[in-house]
Symmetry: C2
Subunit: 160 residues, 2 copies
DNA sequence: ACTTTGATGTTGCGCTGCAGCAAAAAGCGC
DNA sequence: GCGCTTTTTGCTGCAGCGCAACATCAAAGT
């Protein structure tokens, strides 16, 4: 059953962020990948926002703590986080969001992007996956982890 | 029935391009929009390639004919062509392709992007549209002309 | 201790995309 | 045709995005 999670504007950021960090730590430990301070800071920044952030926006927010990191530093951290499925890139926005959900790697991800408040809901769509697979097969096309981005207006903004 | 068109590597570029140009002319005439030389050149360049081209790549190819146009010139032409549904932007590539197909405006478009040869197949997926609509409704999300981009390997490259 | 691997820092650069203003061209009423 | 408005184009400049190439430094293995 496809289901999207749009975090309510007033939900408990703190707890969902710490859950995600804990998950990241477990996952990295399991893969013996290193969740270094820089990488952790970047992830935390994204988690604290719950909105897509551009790389340079992340830099700005990190600048408060330590010295301002170079762009490449942030990009490398993002590469690492993406490789490990902790962060997604929103192509249509040139921005990044922390992944709140644990996926099967093969499952397609659907991003619902609110044009009003900028929030991003992450849905996993079984039905969509099936339809996509059918369509690709008809075209003789072998897909690779499809990502779907849909712009629109989220439920919370809709109510006004 | 979803169906993707991957032009065979040896198909007749010339004829499909001129068909598309003719369509563009008819459409612009009907809307009393002006298909100026610059805009036409940009469209022709995209049609001649059948692959996504970056804005600066388009500039390079236009440079041969007249003088090299400024970036903004190309972007404005692209804006015009996109507004009229003659060109699509491939977000994940920061590139543009000529639209070979006449859509209903509301129908979602599915791009199948070959990572090997760079070709782009354009499919329209009724089943996918339905699944997406269901998923969005479940999330209380109001979508706006969804565009789906899927990376993978096309049928022609697959055969090798 | 030494080597190998991986992470970070530094410099520099090319691509992407557009704002803001000025000049030229097209359409329109008279 | 003549002025007027609207559209299109040309020009300068700039900000964000993303990474290559190289040097440095820490960690992990033998």
């Amino acid at each position: 059953m496809p289901q999207a999670i749009f975090p309510a504007p007033d939900h408990d950021h703190g707890s969902c962020a710490s859950t995600a960090i804990a998950h990241a730590e477990r996952l990295c430990a399991a893969r013996s990948a290193r969740l270094t301070p820089t990488r952790r800071h970047v992830l935390e920044t994204l988690l604290a926002s719950h909105k897509p952030l551009g790389a340079y926006e992340i830099m700005d927010r990190l600048a408060a703590g330590d010295g301002r990191p170079a762009p490449i530093t942030v990009y490398r951290a993002l590469d690492f986080l993406r490789d490990n499925g902790l962060v997604h890139r929103i192509e249509s926005r040139n921005a990044f969001v922390a992944c709140v959900r644990e996926h099967a790697d093969s499952a397609p991800v659907v991003f619902l992007i609110c044009e009003h408040c900028g929030a991003v809901g992450e849905a996993t769509g079984g039905a969509i996956a099936d339809a996509l697979a059918t369509s690709c097969r008809a075209a003789g096309f072998s897909p690779k982890s499809p990502v779907i981005e849909i712009a629109g207006v989220c439920s919370h903004c809709r109510q006004r």
